[in-house]
Amino acid sequence: MKRIRNFSIIAHIDHGKSTLADRLIERCGALTDREMSEQVLDSMDLERERGITIKAQSVALRYTAQDGDTYQLNIIDTPGHVDFSYEVSRSLAACEGALLVVDASQGVEAQSVANCYTAVDQGLEILPVLNKIDLPAADPERVRQQIEEIIGLETEGMLKISAKTGEGVDDLLEALVQRIPAPVGEPDAPLKALIMDSWFDNYLGVVCLVRIYNGQLGKGDRIQVWSTKREFQVDQVGIFSPKKTPLAALNTGEVGYVVAGIKDIDGAPVGDTLTHVQRPCTERVPGFKVVQPRVFAGMFPVSSDDYENFRDALAKLRLNDASLQYEPENSQALGFGFRCGFLGMLHMEIVQERLEREYNLDLITTAPTVVYEVLTTRGGLLSISNPTALPPGNEVEEIREPIIQANILVPQEFVGNVIALCEEKRGDQKDMQFVGQQIALTYELPLSEVVLDFFDRLKSSSRGFASFDYEFLRFQAANLARLDVLINGEKVDALAVIIHREDAHRRGRELTDRLKEIIPRQMFEVAIQAAIGNQIVARSTVKALRKNVTAKCYGGDISRKRKLLEKQKAGKKRMKQVGKVDIPQEAFLSVLQVDNKS
């Protein structure tokens, strides 16, 4: 146990986490050159493309230090986005130390700060590492100051490396061994292991990534999952080196995988505790919680023939993604689909992209909405994740919206823009601190304002320099109402949104204007109205198409004319019919984009 080092790498996107991991793997000779594909850790294509980690992973390396001893280094990879902060905390819980990797030219970003604080809170030893020192734009001194000022970390003994060229990596390995503490735990105590992550493997069933706190976990053991009390027989344990390597047992302090005939991912919740059936531990690993989706959206196949495929695809994604929720939804406008729940906007985008890319589905996604709490006049408390489910006004005592705390880090010159944005988004400033050349802003914001386009707006109002992280705080009563959209007098359920009453006119106008641009002219005039209850708050009109007829048609060649008709009909088929009005798919996303015109 003395020669085990468990650590994770905390870094902002593009600051070089994956490259550094590759370099460490290479230095420890874990893979031949031929096996070294770029960025071993991020195994999903999508992760590689987006440069972010979605699932936690681990790699166990053997490193012979200058003291002559051979150490087991467990690199525990953590997701790198606000949507996955719970997963981050579980990964960090398995470590004794962390490398804070900061780009020597870019400096500190809010995401790293947030993860770093989580690590500090959990008592991890943090080693600041300046990466990319080979770049001409590198400014190690400035970034060092930032780390001290913003994060409050001692930078004495800060490591300067270039993961790309390998410069400084040897020193880093030595520092890891010397400065990160060995795990502590009782090998003879009852088994206590943390499920850091779990995923579904087509051949093995659910594979759990675990950290052993006490005891030993061996092949053939009967184990129990704490929260469900379900029992399983261990088929296989082992480590990733980075190839999957089966072992007889995982010992105290180690990180590795367990296969135990668990059929679905809900059987092994992230953050849960594993122990032995015969000799259970007396308390679980702290910090477990059931992850709740915060953002919901309806997803509908463009072609109703795809419904079955869509359902199967969601089931398959769910195998590996316990935080994805879905249930059938039937929309008057869009037909049969599913109401899906996500951790956040990035999570939603990833799921949507995977469905479209890996399962070849053509989907319409309605505007995402957060979960509201509704107190009814009869004293009931409802959880509303679909605007159409909002009870009629006379049955509603109070609507509560989720409030988050946003931590924003922005260079001074853009702070005005960012404050203006936060105010526009109904933010409540809680703190503002100068940290070097940067300003750390703390705001309480309604989550509904954040899911729309906050991140994009934040980036564009700071030329990309502002960074942002958030956590859920509470539900809070607000003056909310559902904004309905009526097209030629018919309510279009898929276009409804819950908004602040004081924004009703502005949002209504933006929405009707935008729909007017998107809905093509038809044979008849199309009236678009936005309404709250029976009160129309905005309207616009798509003028009738004057004519749709081919000017010239001499009998001779009619094939071209026929093709034109077919093309017109195909175009119409791609639209959704509401009453007699053909509505293009983009319309259903327009609710999302109304804020863009500021």
């Binding site: 081919t550 048609c553 001499y554």
Partner: protein, 381 residues
């Protein structure tokens, strides 16, 4: 089943210059038009075509292009003479002519050759608009062409007019229609410029008047034409009573026609009820090669499922619509096959069914493409 009336279309594919909006099978002359060789090929083609519809009189002939008036009257005479006894009684024989290629003497020659109706591609009388759409003539030449046609003794003259031209105003469009009327013609084809694939304008689109402006042009011109006693008997065709183009009416009534010349299309109903369509080789040089003119480049049967759409694509263009018995005799189908669709469209106010007669409403006429889409067979074989 009595065969439908039979027309003959003759395609003369050369033009002095290809217009940037034109997607017809027309080719710039680049030197002398091979009149003799092409006419020889046409005659061979014609002999075979006539044999395709044995015994049936040709009720109308339409010589189109291209610019048929580039051909000398003698060549036209050779073609018409070849029809001989196959020409029906009082046939309508139309020739397309373009200003800038004709004078009174040439028109007289065409008349002597047997032409009794002229269709002149005026498009506009405004020189700057004509220039913008790449025409070779100016406004004065356009007027002179119409006057020359009268002087040569033609009583039936059509002028083609376009609206919605780049930079055109409503006043200019109306002025064109007025000049056409002052030139005493009994027929006007009044159609909107559209950007068709495979044209210069399609790849480099000019700025055209918007839909609302084009709509105003159509209406204002319509009012003027109406004031001069012309009626809109088809989407784009206006005529005094009795002056409608009979050759085109045959197309729109789903009649039969033979087609000769490069890229010409034909349609025939066989005594057994089969409806066939065919076309000739498009490229003139290929068409003139020995043995080619008498072969179809393609020939196909129109399946029953396609016939309602084909019929309606034509018949509903006419203001008068069609009768159910015409539908049944021309398609060989039971009119009941369209009953549901027609009832729906009538309920939507797009069609009017009055007794035997079915026609578009005003709305339906303006949105004919939307109406026709309903008749596209679901599965395309």
């Amino acid at each position: 089943m009595a065969p439908p009336p039979l027309g003959l279309y003759v395609h003369l594919p050369w033009c002095v210059r290809k217009c940037p909006y034109c997607d017809f099978n027309s080719h710039e002359t680049r030197g002398a038009v091979p009149v003799e060789a092409y006419t020889d090929a046409l005659l061979l083609d014609l002999d075979r075509e006539l044999a395709r519809a044995p015994g049936r009189p040709v009720e109308s002939v339409f010589i189109g292009g291209g610019t048929p008036s580039l051909f000398p009257p003698e060549a036209v005479a050779r073609i018409l003479d070849r029809l001989g006894s196959r020409l029906g009684d009082a046939p309508e024989i139309t020739l397309e002519a373009n200003p800038g290629t004709v004078d009174e003497a040439r028109f007289s020659g065409f008349r002597l050759a047997g032409i009794n109706r002229l269709s002149i591609g005026v498009q506009s009388f405004q020189p700057q608009l004509l220039q913008r759409i790449g025409r070779i003539h100016d406004g004065a030449e356009a007027r002179r062409a119409a006057e020359a046609a009268h002087a040569a003794g033609f009583e039936r003259i059509n002028l083609d007019l376009m609206f919605g031209l780049p930079g055109q105003t409503v006043a200019q469009a109306v002025a064109d229609a007025r000049i056409a009327m002052e030139l005493q013609v009994a027929h006007v084809s009044h159609y909107q410029l559209t950007l068709e694939p495979n044209t210069v304008f399609y790849s480099r689109p000019p700025t055209l008047p918007d839909d609302d402006l084009a709509w105003e042009m159509q209406n204002s011109c319509g009012t003027l034409l109406h004031g001069y006693g012309l009626h809109r008997y088809e989407i784009s065709a206006w005529a005094r009573p009795g002056e409608a183009c009979r050759h085109n009416l045959n197309y729109w009534g789903y009649g039969d026609y033979l087609g000769i010349g490069a890229g010409a299309h034909g349609k025939l109903t066989h005594p057994n009820g089969q409806v066939i369509r065919y076309r000739k080789v498009r490229v003139p040089a290929a068409y003139m090669r020995p043995g080619t003119a008498t072969r179809d480049a393609a020939c196909w049967e129109v399946p029953e499922a396609e016939r309602p759409l084909e019929f309606l694509m034509n018949a509903l263009r006419l203001q008068q619509g069609f009768t159910m018995s015409l539908f049944e005799s021309r398609t060989g189908l039971d009119g009941a096959c369209m009953r549901d669709s027609l009832a729906t469209l009538e309920a939507e106010g797009l069609l009017r069914c009055e007794g035997e007669t079915i026609r578009t409403s005003r709305l339906g006429m303006n949105h004919l493409d939307s109406v026709l889409q309903r008749f596209l067979p679901e599965a395309v074989s």
